[in-house]
Amino acid sequence: MTNINGKTYAMNAITPMNAFYTPILKLIFFILGHVKPLQADLINLSFIHFARWVVVKRHKFPRLSEKQPEEHLHYDYLLFFSNFNGTWNQYIDAFADVLSNGLNLIWRWSAKFPGSRPVTAFKRYIALVQFDTDYYYVAYPRATANDVKAAHRVNAALEDFARNSKDMTPADFGSAYLKFVTQVQADLGATGIGPVGT
C-alpha cells in the first residue's frame, strides 16, 4: 500500500448509488463542468493537483471475454480519485469546511451518505468506502499544487524581466531588479519533503 508519494496523497473511493439517481448526478457534473464559477472553491482550496469522479453503470464494468463472468449488480458506482497535498485528515476537514454543499450535492445520491457535516460521521463514511493505492507515481513529488503555480509565476516573471532588462544601464537595471524581486518574493518558498501523517 502506498497512498503517499512525496507531498501528494492518492485517494480512491467507491460508493454505491441507486441507478435512478445517476442521470441527476451526471447533470450536476455537466453544470459544474460548464459553469466555471462553480469550481471557484475547488480552485481556491489549491491543494489538489488533479481529481476526478467517474460513474460506472452497473452493466458497464469492462468485460473482455466470454469466459469472464458477467457482473450482475444492483447499484451503479461512483468512483472518486484525488491527488492532494497534506494529510488525509487535513483534506477531509478542509473539504467539509469549504465545500460542504458541493460535497453533499455530489454524494447525497450514494447509499448511506451521512452528509459532510458533522465531519466525524463523514470521515467514518470516507474511511469505509476508501481503498488503498498499490502504486503511485508523481513527476514532481516534492512540490505541492501551490508550489507548481508559484514556480510558473516566477518563471514567467523571470522571462519578462530578462527580456525587458536586456539593454538597460546598471542604474536602470538596479531599479528594475528591485521591482522583479518584489514581484516574485512571495513565490520563492522552497520545495521539500512531504508531511508525516495519515
Binding site: 492518492a10 480512491n12 467507491i14 460508493t15 454505491p16 457534473f29 475547488l42 480552485i43 493537483h49 488533479f50 481529481a51 476526478r52 469522479w53 467517474v54 460513474v55 464494468f61 469492462p62 468485460r63 473482455l64 469466459k67 469472464q68 463472468p69 450482475h72 447499484y75 480519485f81 491527488n83 447509499a111 448511506k112 463514511y125 468506502v129 481503498f131 493505492t133 498499490d134 502504486y135 503511485y136 507515481y137 508523481v138 513527476a139 514532481y140 513529488p141 516534492r142 512540490a143 499544487a145 507548481v148 508559484a150 514556480a151 510558473h152 516566477v154 523571470l158 530578462a162 532588462s165 546598471p170 537595471f173 538596479g174 531588479y177 518574493q185 520563492l188 522552497a190 520545495t191 521539500g192
Partner: protein, 226 residues
Amino acid sequence: MPNQNGNVYGLTILSPIINAPAGDVSHDCAIRDYLASLPRDHHSPFAKISSTHLARLVVMDDVVFVGTPAREEHLKSKYLVFETNFDGDLDAYLASMARDAPDEVHAVWQHCVGYPGTQDPAAFAAYMKKCQLETTFFFADVNDKTVQQTLRALKVQAGVAHFIESNQGKSPAEIQAAFRQFLDKVRHAPEPLAGEYERTHVPARGQGAVVRTQPLAGEHEGQPNG
C-alpha cells in the same frame, strides 16, 4: 470532453484481472507483488512515459458494502484500476506506454483478461480503450503546462531564490553581470528528471535558502520558527 481538462487528459482504465483459482499464485497478488517492487522515483516506468504528471495503479478487490438498509453485493472479478493524468492525446500516450515501458506494462497487464501484449501497439491501444471508463468530471489545477515545463519552472524557481539571496548587498552593475551568467546557466541547464527526489538545490547555511528536514533545537512540531 469530460476526459480532458485544458491540455491534460484524465485516463481511467478498469482492467478485469484473470481469475484462476487453480494457479500457484493469484493474479491480483502477483500484480501487487510486482507493484511493490517497482521504483516510484525517476526510475519509474512512468518517468519514461514522459508526459505523465501523476499516475496510480490499484487492485480493486470488490465494491464496498456500506451497511443496511443498503443491499450487499460483490463483484465477480477483481479489477486493476489505472488512473493517469498526462499531456496530449490518448493515442500518443498509449503508444508511448507500449514503446517506452513495454516490460513493465507487460509485467502488470499480463495478469488481466484479454491483454494482447505490447508487441502490436495498435492491439494494445485497442485493448486499453475497451477497458476505458469515461470520466464524468475531471478537475485539473494547472491544465496548460506540460510536465517538462513544470519541472523546469520548479528548478528555475529554486535557482531564482538562490540568486536573489546570494546577490544581496551587491552593486547594480555586479548584480547585472551575475544575472547574465545566471540566465545563461538557466537557458543551458539540462532537462530535469521527472519523478526525481533529489533536491534541486540545497545551498550551505548562510549561502542561500536552507531546506531543513529536522527541527531546530527548541522548535516543536506545530510551532515552526519564524
